[in-house]
């Protein structure tokens, strides 16, 4: 079979056909993968919530509400965890833009009185081997069981109570900033 000639009409028809087939295929694939992708995302979120709050038996995802922050595009998401009808804790999805590589997202679990229960890092782009240590227990554990009312959420260098990660002060500050944002906003008016 000889190659088709590069006449104007041939080129237009070919490009149209190629793009048409490609977009139709992608539309189909998108429909097929939409559900698994949504499911994977939801599972990841639920897992993060389970990690940071005490045992619960409700569906925190369906009772989620948001708190407005100074940045209108990024409200904090609050997931209440209940056992029976009693509130046992809340998971607050918080963020900071102060990371060494920008955005860091945390899931911070509070007990109803505002004490930090556990923290899980959802997303970050910190330097491997330095800033990434914020996901390690050795750093995160110092927050557990502390109430920010009498635990100053700043690194020791800035006069606070938090031991910064060696060689990753910026990441440590950012982490504190995200936790503080979660606590402040939740205490200020996020309680329901």
């Amino acid at each position: 079979m000889a190659k088709r000639e590069s006449t104007f009409i041939n080129m237009v028809v070919t490009l149209f056909a190629v793009t048409f087939i490609a977009s139709a295929t992608l539309g189909g694939i998108y429909e097929l993968t939409k559900e698994p992708i949504a499911k994977a995302k939801l599972e990841k979120k639920l897992k993060a919530i389970q990690l940071v709050v005490p045992e619960f038996d409700n569906d925190p995802n369906s009772e989620m509400y948001t708190i407005k922050t100074e940045n209108d595009d990024m409200p904090l998401e609050v997931y209440p965890a209940k056992k029976g009808d009693k509130l046992v804790g809340v998971a607050v999805k918080s963020y900071t833009m102060k990371g060494y590589s920008g955005l860091i997202q945390l899931m911070v679990g509070f007990k109803p009185d505002g004490t930090i229960n556990k923290i899980s890092v959802l997303q970050h782009a910190e330097t491997p081997g330095l800033g990434t240590k914020m996901t390690d227990a050795s750093f995160k554990d110092q927050f557990y069981g502390k109430n920010p009312a009498d635990f100053n959420l700043e690194v020791k260098k800035d006069g606070g109570d938090v031991d910064a990660i060696t060689a990753a002060t910026i990441s440590s500050r950012a982490f504190c900033d995200a936790v503080k944002r979660a606590y402040d906003q939740y205490m200020k008016g996020g309680k329901k």
Binding site: M1, A2, K3, R4, E5, S6, T7, N10, M11, T14, L15, V18, T19, A22, T25, L26, I29, Y30, T33, E35, P36, I37, K39, A40, K41, K44, T127, P128, G129, L130
Partner: protein, 201 residues
Amino acid sequence: MNQKQNFTKGFIKDNAVFVMLLGLCPTLAVTSSAVNGLGMGLATTFVLVMANIVVALVKNLIPEKVRIPSFIVIIASFVTIVDLTMAGFLPSLHEALGIFIPLIVVNCLVLGRAEAFASKNNIVSSIVDGLGMGLGFAFALTLLGAVRELLGAGSVFGLSIPIFPTTEDGAPITMLLFVLAPGAFIALGYLIAIINRFKKS
């Protein structure tokens, strides 16, 4: 050239990374660990084989002057398919590779093979070429990832290999530089030098 040569040329003789120096952007960026390198390499192999098949099939239908945009659309479609499928079924790998999956589109290796090989050869040779080149690319990425992970984090595929002295609390003292961007250039440079040495002798 028989099919066996056609397949094996991608590993050493015409290796995309070590010899042709194609696709260095994903090569340098994702190889901070062996697993990431392997994942990226296999994803690229899939795209390469599929794109080669389609290009070999339609090569006579596409007029000479619009072949590049047509090939790009074909490649981009397969990349999007990989991206969506991975996000749905392998979310953790998808997260680790992040932005570099969409970037397979602009990997010169894929377009290069479509243009230089698949558009001039039959479908069987194109599949073999895609597999060989893709697996050669995966091999290069995994090797680079393994070297960097070993020197930078003291492990390979997540298994720790005790070649470094440890501190009092048991953490190995490693050359962190190799996990970071400059280490990618240094490690790749030495690997290319070693491979060239073997090719000469």
